[in-house]
């Protein structure tokens, strides 16, 4: 019998703690596949952030440093500067990266640090119970925007992939989703591109991954998945916003 599908070696054979229908697990898998493809598992140092993805080291079979909330790009800078031969990526949520950690992401990107950032955007603070995030859509109800996000008072959702693409230091920036098989295949492709930039020493690469959060959105997994394609993709268009080396 020919084996045509297998678990990536960079991923441990362990059940994740993510809620049913959450896309974190799928992104973990895509990241692990990219790691396998480039054979970088052995020299990878992952930087875990705070939020639902903090247990990175429980699922990836790689060395990991844990960063304080929002600071993963700074920690990754220190790791990469001290060990330029390692493959360094951060994995951060939207509360982490687009709120408390905005300074760190913008400046690490602007310095063109040779790292890869995987940014999982589920329009809410998942782990702390579904509060309003900088990416929460206008009108979206959360536990701290019970009347819906109000652009006049709360500002409008931040489009990080576009924002970072403006910076000279950024080599690659793209937004992906895994809500349909087609989007998933494309996400896989873009994540590999992002990884290739670092493997080839071409600079800072950024992947924004649109994710569902059925529990905090108060939806069943199918409806939540649906929302990614309709509401989220409407405001956060999928695509490549920068691809300096045209990889």
């Amino acid at each position: 019998m020919q084996q045509v599908f297998r678990k990536p070696v960079s991923l441990k054979d362990i059940q994740t703690h993510f809620c049913p229908g959450c896309h974190h697990g799928t992104f973990h898998r895509l990241v692990a596949e990219a790691m396998d493809e480039f054979g970088v598992q052995g020299r990878t140092i992952g930087v875990a952030s705070v939020g639902c993805s903090v247990f990175l080291y429980g699922y990836f079979d790689i060395d990991v440093v844990e960063a304080p909330h929002g600071r993963a790009p700074a920690v990754a800078t220190g790791v990469k500067r001290a060990r330029p031969d390692s493959f360094v990526f951060t994995y951060q949520g939207d509360g982490d990266l687009a709120a408390i950690g905005t300074a760190e992401i913008i400046h690490a990107a602007n310095r063109g640090e040779d790292i890869t950032v995987v940014f999982v955007n589920n329009t809410t603070y998942g782990m702390t119970g579904g509060q309003m995030a900088p990416t929460t859509l206008v009108g979206q109800k959360t536990s701290t925007s019970p009347y819906g996000r109000n652009a006049g008072k709360d500002g409008s959702p931040i489009r990080m992939a576009e924002l970072l693409a403006q910076l000279e230091g950024v080599a690659f920036s793209a937004r992906v989703a895994v809500n349909t098989p087609r989007n998933l295949m494309d996400a896989k492709k873009q994540i590999k591109k992002a990884f290739r930039y670092q493997v080839e020493g071409k600079g800072f690469s950024f992947i924004e991954a649109l994710s569902s959060c059925p529990t905090n959105w108060g939806m069943d997994p199918l409806a939540a998945n649906e929302r990614v394609g309709t509401e989220m993709c409407g405001y956060f268009p999928l695509g490549v916003f920068k691809n300096t080396a045209a990889i």
Binding site: Q41, V54, Y57, D61, I62, D63, V65, E66, A82, R83
Partner: protein
Amino acid sequence: MTKRLFMKGNEALAMAAIEAGCRYYFGYPITPQSDIPEYMSRELPRLGGEFVQAESEVASINMLLGASATGARAMTSSSSPGISLKQEGISYMAGAELPGVIVNICRSGPGLGGIDASQADYFQAVKGGGHGGYHIIVLAPSSVQEMYDLTMLAFDLSDQYRIPAMVFGDSVVGQMKESFVPHPRPARELPPKEWVVRGRQHGEQRVVKSLYLGDGELEAHNWKLHARYGELKEKESRWESFLVEDAELVVAAFGSAARIAKSAVMAARERGLRVGLLRPITLFPFPEQAFRAVTARCKKVLDVELNAGQMVEDVRLSVTCGTEVFFYGRPPGAGSLPTPEELLGQIEKYY
């Protein structure tokens, strides 16, 4: 290297860091310590190291955390308001048992305060500073020579005990020029860094973290850290004692305040007063045993600080029963540095 150099304290400190093998520096400008990043930005690239001017103190302490996690010798420096911003990262480093050197060339506060010499960050430095109940090693130089010596020591102690170490100076020791003798790093056997992240290909997975959620795990981790603080107290307490053997009154002071106090002690001796000086060099671990020993005989201590009274609490906890502890301090600000004559007046008052 036996030649004498004439340099600023901040520069001697930076020079010592490089001599100690520090190749990675992360910082953000603030007076009165900017000579340190300036020196590092000039020297590190020539040595194959890295200088990063971070976007903030928050970022720079986390860059230090990342570099330290790989086993590199690395440093950050700042002054009071910047050190406040670093506290979260220092707490994470303490929790993750990461070494690393943090320099605080303390200025006056609270808030923006001023840029004068101050010792008002004593509590912040020795009582944890950040959240969670931890300690870091705190070394207090009082001369340019000690800015050099103690910085070098900070790297070794930090690596040996896997605890962040702070060099706690102020504008006086940072900005003054004095002659000193640089020297190579003294030999000290250090444990291999078996915990560093270096990629899975070199063996088992390694994780540098401070999150412990399992039943009893975090408590056990904290007890382990606290045992190490105890070991530090026993083995690494350092102090200077000056004319304490026959003293009727002992002045306690650290850092630049101790220099002024020393002049006052010598002036008092000239007047026939039997006065000595006990100067803690490690503020954590606090040299409790030195205070206990001195006050077994001498029952009067005058604690002098460039603040409204902070170390005096540790002095009170360390002296033997029946000792009277007096305090004289000047909260910092332009013109509030006490003169030796002023301190002599205080010595005479309590003698």
